[in-house]
Amino acid sequence: MTTLSVPSARKRRRLQRRGLLPLLLGPSVLLIALFVIAPAVYSLYLGFTNTQLTGFAARDPKFVGIDNYTYLLSSPDFLGSLGRTGVFVLFSAIIGQTVLGMLAALLLSRKWMRGKGLFGAAVLLPMVVPEVVASLAWASVLSPRADGTLNRLIDLLGAQPVAWLQAAPMVCIIVVNVWRGIAFAMIMFQAALEDVPEELIEASRIDGASARQVFTNVTLPLIRGPVFLYLLLTTITTVGVFGLVYFLTQGGPGSSTQLVSIYIFEHAFEYSQIGLGSAASVVLLVVLLVLGLTYVRLAKVEV
């Protein structure tokens, strides 16, 4: 490090620093505080009120303590949506995306494989298209008409056309979300797999281990960290999924695909119950916090 001494210049730098920092970082802090943090805090407050946008109660929002929370936690509707969200996250993010993403990462790490670029691009496509386009594409696949893509496929097996979104709505949205998230899992796992030293794999191979054993006993333990990080990230993202499902089902049929995000939207904006919607948002945040801490705990234990 060159150390030409120009003391006064150095001092000027240090003095300048104090002035510059707020100028440079200030705007970002302001924006984040105002549009990301403040709403979260405001939500907390609103959850304790009976704020509405229609009806006489709208003129004069009152503080109602934990009434909203007691309503929510005893409402089969809300508890149902929590459950559905849990199922949605478990099967699409934790199981579906992880398994298929790992599969893709492993397959595309094979040195002898040709056309990796093409395959990789194919897997990447569902992730990079906008949410609404993804839903639209699947709307045609799941079409109840006899010439819908999926119905055509099962026709080859001799089955009758099915109205998929009616008959098995949760399964449908789980599949769509898996489809959407494979690429992200693949990318994260590829990076993780790369960090596994070749020599270790070679050594265990020479010792006679099968591919499966190599994977479970050598690879997996070494990539535990990234895997948990991935699980954490995808859980967070999946809990926040709204458009993908809303576009296809609007929470229906009935409320069979009403996830917490849709419950919040419906109650806050279609029924104009701001207080209740905010309370539901807070519950969602708390659940996420608990999940996040759980993950971190698990990751620590392993590593």
Binding site: Q52, F56, Q166
Partner: protein, 464 residues
Amino acid sequence: MKRTRPFAAAPSAAFTRRGFLGFAGGVAATTLLTACSSGPSGSSASSGGTTTIKIVEYQQARADIMKKLIPQFEKDMAAQGKKIKVDLIADILTDAQFKTKITQQFHSGTAPDLIDTGATNIAGYAGAGYLLELDDALHEWSGWKTFYPTVKKVMKQPDGHYYAIPHEASVQSLFYRKDVLESMGISTSQPKTWDELIGRLKKVTVKTGEPSIVIPAGTAWGGGTWSEGFLPIVAGTGSTFYDAKTGKWKVESKGLTATFELYSELVDNKLLPVQDLLNPNPWEPTKYVDFVKGTLPVSAQGTWGWRYDWGPDGAAPIKDVQEKVATWDYPSLIDGTEPYSVGGGGYVYAVNAKSKSPDAAIAFAQWLASGKPLARQLVKTGAAAPRSGISGIEPYKSEPTLLDAEAKLKTSVPAPVGDGADQVSQAVQDATEKILTGDANGKQAAKSFAADAASLLGNSLVAQ
């Protein structure tokens, strides 16, 4: 050879001095541009003597007729020496989408001067203070005296004031396919009781293998479950649902339980199209496809069905609808009551409380609710006149079914409206949904409704 600036290629020009300034300038320009053009703001403006008012229509048929009426209004006003211009905002949406949107616009003060919406929505907006109180304007208007008492009653809000001018009255009845039932050999006389009607419906279902009646139910139908489905049935049971004097709702009663049990009975006998009712936009496969085809021959419906749904310009036209379709009053549900029809609101015009030109807006609404303009709208959308004196005006004069409905207004039962209707509507939707999914029978649904409604309404609105 070491490269000194690997990213000195053209695209990095953005980060040279000029580039950076240009970049920052671009950001600033975009910000300024967007700040200035922050979307159309809500209500009127006045410039050089011409007052401009805005009205929003969210149904195609209504937007179409409004487009034709506006020039006439502007001419009439000009003849009186008033320069008023009307801007029509046509944004085609479902009821639920419109409600969400207009509530947000009212809340942020960007709503137009006039809205045209169903009477059942007014309570919520009026309660929140979004609408202009019209008592004085109506009092001074000679036309108001000719409005039917039932219509006026429905328009009076829980606080005793008026906030909208009705331009339709509708009668809620059971529409049925006369041709289809006759060809099946099923009686088309007025069923006296629901048991009688259910007997006929069962016969139809046995013949077709399909559900035979559609009554709005569940959450997918939204507010319609309340206003077109549940409310008309409970209104004829004789039980008080909303007490206008105390301003409270009675969330448990014989009539309510009977209504929920009716739904349950219909579902148990497979007479309701349950799957369709659970899916988004449930009116499409039921009213617009199966009723038209004739496989679902009975539908709970308001007067507008004659034009808006099944008329020649409607969403799902039925050829010769006047011959093929007829109406029944609602059969009686509880012993001791008689068949009845429910008279209620149709659409009404309401003025934004924050409108900058309230007088012009009120003048327009009053003009629209009178004489030929009113007659033309009634025929376009299919509604009965809410006031006397229209039955002699073309084109309304030549619509026997609509004139019929107007006559019925005098004897129809009014539907209860009150503050908190939105919350009750939600509770009804949830409770009927449970019946559809098989999660509750009639009694259980009634109980769950009572608990739900009570907690949504809050203590002040529930009769103990």
